[in-house]
Symmetry: C2
Subunit: 454 residues, 2 copies
Amino acid sequence: MRSFLFASFLFFFTGTLKAQSDSIYIRKIANEVFRHSTAYSNLHTLTKTIGPRLSGSAQTYTAEKWGEEVLKQAGADRVYLQKAMIPHWVRGGRDEAAMISGKNRQNMAVIALGNSVSTKPGGITAPMILIRDFDELEKRKDEIKGKIVFYNHPFNLDFVWMFNAYAEAVPYRVFGASRAAKYGALGVVVRSMSASTDNFPHTGAMIYNDSFPKIPALAVGLQDADKLVAAAATQKDLQLFISTNAHSLPDTVGYNVIGEWQGTANPDQFITVGGHLDSWDPAEGASDDGTGCVQSVEVLRALKATGYKPNRTIRVVLFTDEENGGRGALAYSSEAKSKKEKHIFALESDGGGFTPREFSFKGAETQMASIQPLVHLFVPYGVTAFSMRGAGADVEPLNDSTGALAAELIPDSQRYFDYHHAANDVFEKVNKREVELGAINMAALIYLIDKYGL
Amino acid sequence: MRSFLFASFLFFFTGTLKAQSDSIYIRKIANEVFRHSTAYSNLHTLTKTIGPRLSGSAQTYTAEKWGEEVLKQAGADRVYLQKAMIPHWVRGGRDEAAMISGKNRQNMAVIALGNSVSTKPGGITAPMILIRDFDELEKRKDEIKGKIVFYNHPFNLDFVWMFNAYAEAVPYRVFGASRAAKYGALGVVVRSMSASTDNFPHTGAMIYNDSFPKIPALAVGLQDADKLVAAAATQKDLQLFISTNAHSLPDTVGYNVIGEWQGTANPDQFITVGGHLDSWDPAEGASDDGTGCVQSVEVLRALKATGYKPNRTIRVVLFTDEENGGRGALAYSSEAKSKKEKHIFALESDGGGFTPREFSFKGAETQMASIQPLVHLFVPYGVTAFSMRGAGADVEPLNDSTGALAAELIPDSQRYFDYHHAANDVFEKVNKREVELGAINMAALIYLIDKYGL
C-alpha cells in the first residue's frame, strides 16, 4: 500500500511540474506573439499588395513568391515548392448580371459560381422557378424544363456553430446546377451561403455531373434573394435574365510553398502546420485563408524566437488550390505516402482569423487519448475544448494517406460567413489580436505534440 | 447499502431529467432569439436615429423615450422612470486640438477627457514632458512645473483578457491630470486606452483631486502618441499646443428606464437585467453600451415569447449615466435598499456585443455554489466558465446595498478597446449573431436563477 501511495504521489508531483513548465513555456510563446508577431503585417502585404489569388490567376505566382519570402524571414531552414496541376477557371470579366425582366425590371447582385460555364453571349432570359430544397425539386421536376431554377435554401440560423448551417446549405451551390439540368433547367441562381445582413453575393465551388448538360450557375446576395422570393409571390410569369462569361481553361501549374524546420531527435518524423494560399477572386482572401497562412508562418517564427529546438521536423505548408480543386492537399498527401514519410500530426487554420474556441481533430482514439489531457493548458488562451468535428480539407488527406492525426483550429464562427467568398473578405475585417491568439494556440499545440509525441 | 444506492440512483435520475428539461428550454430560447430577435434592429435605431447620448445631452431624453417604447414592445407589464441627478459635462465644440509647435509643426488626433476643464481661449503652448508611469512622474517631479505632461503608458499586450490591460492603464486617464497638477503641470495628454491599430483618440472619465489646480486633459490616438514619443526623442525643447473648450454645467435630471415583468410565485423578489443607456459623445455608443441595452430588452422579449412565467419579478433596467457618474446605478441600488426590496440577482452586459465567453460574478460563496453546477448548460452557446472577475459598475452597487448576487456577461474582449469611447464605436462594428448569442446566454441565466433561486 505504501509503495502504491508513493508512486501516486510521484506521479502527481511530476505531472504537476510538467504541466507547470508547459504552461510557462506557452506563456512565453504568447508574450512573443503578442509583442513581436508579424502575422498582421504579413496579412496586410498578402491582402493589399497581392490581393485575390484564385488558382491560375497571375496572383497565384506573386503569392507563391511572397510565401517563399516570409518563410525565409520566419527562419525556415529550407523553403521549397511542391508542384500540383491546378484548375484554371476564369470569371471572364465583371459583367455578370441577373435581372428581373419585364415591367418590374430589377437588377440583382450576383456572382458566378466557381467552375460554372458561361451563358450564351448576351445572356439568357427564361421563366424563373423558386425551389426551396431538393425534395421540392423532385416533386416539381416536370415544371423545371426551360426555366431558371432559383434555389432559396436559407442558412439554418438555429445552429450556433455556423459551419453546420453551411454544411446543410452548400449542396445547393455544389450540386444544384446538375440536379436542375437533369430536368431541363437552363440555369440556376443560388441563395448565397451566408447569414449576413448585407447584399454581397458569395461565390464558391460547384461541380457538374457529366451526365447532364452544363448550365450556368450564379449566387445572389441575401437581400436580393428575398426580393426574388417576394417577386415570385406576386408575378406568376416572372422572367429572369442571367449573364456570365465564366469558363474553364486548361489546367495549369501551381505550387505548395513549404518551409521546413529540421528536427533534432527525430528529423525524419514530420509535423505539418498550414493554411491555403489561394482565395476566391472577388476580394482579398483575408479571412479565407490569408489568416491561416500568416498564423502558420507565425508558429514557426514564434517557436524559433522563443529558442525552441524541435524534436521532429516541422513543416509550414501554404497549400495551393484549396478553393476549387484541393490539388495542393492531394499533392502533399500523395507525396508523403509515396515517399513513406512518417507524419505524426498536421494542423490547419482555415476557419478565419477570429478568436479561437476549439481544436477539432480527425484521428484514432489512441491519438486523442494522449492529447485530451492537455486541453487545460489552452484555456487561458481561448481554446476550451478538443472536439472531433473533422480536420479540414488540406490536412484530412494526410490523415487518410499516412494516419497522421489531423486537426483544425476552430475560431468563433459567427462572422466567418459574413465574408466567406465575398467582396467584403478584406483585411479591415480582421482583428490583429484575434489572429495572434489563434497563432498562439496553434504554436502551443505544435510545441506540445512535438515535445511529447502521440 | 441498498437504500443508499437507490437514493443515488434517484438523485442521478432526477438530476438528469432536470438538466435535460433545462437544456431543452434553453434551446427553445435560442431558437426564439436566432429567429425573431429585435436586438439588432433596436440597436440600429438607437445608434443611427438617436446616436451619441452623453449625460445631459439632448439625446439623453430621446434615448429614454426610445427605451420606454422598446420595453413596452417587448412586453413589460409596467414601464417607468427612476430619477437621478446626473452630471452635465460638454465638449464645447469640435475644435479640440493638439499640435507639436515650431518648425516641425504636426497636428495630433486628440479628444478631451470627460470632466476636463478647458484651456484658456485660444489654447496653451508649453514644453512637453514625456512620462511613462507614475513612478517616473514622482522621480521627475521637479521637472513638471510649467509643462504639459504626456503620459505614454501603453496597453500591456501580454494580457489575454483586455480588461486587465485597461485596468492597468486607466489610472493615467482618471488621475493623471491632478497628479501632474500637484507638481505644477499646465495640462496633460494621455495615450489612448486601447491596443488598436488606428489613430482614433479614446475619451473617458477623469476625476480631479480638489486639492490641486484643475488642468485640461486630452487623449491622443495611438499612432500620434508614437509620433510624440519619436519627436520627444529628437527635439529636446519640444513645445506642445493644446486647446479644448470642455466644461461642466450644473447637474441635470436623467432617468433610469425600467420595464417590469411581474412574478407569479414571488412577485416581491426581484431579478434585474440591464445595460446603460448613456454613451460617450464621439460616436454612436454601439458596443458601449447599446448592445447591453438591446440584449437586456431581448431577454424580456424572448422569455415572454417562449411562454415563460417568471416566479419572481424581472426588471429590465436601462441605466442612466454609467459613463461619467454612475448616478443611475446609485439611484437604483439606493432605492432598493430604502424600500427594503428583496433582490436575488442582477445581471449586466457592458463588455460589448461580442461573442460570449463567460459570466463573471460578485457574491457570496453560497450563492456561487448553487449556480456553479449549471455552467454546462451554457457551453453549447459559448459561455464556458463562471468566474469571479467582478460584476460591473451598474450592478455591483446593488450587491453592496442588498446582497443580491451580481453578474456581468463577459464577451470576447479582443475588439472592445478598438472602439471603446472612440469615434468608431458604431453599429457597423457589431455582428448580429454575436449580440444574439449574448442575449441567449443572458436569458438562460435569468431563467435558471428565476426557476431555481439561489
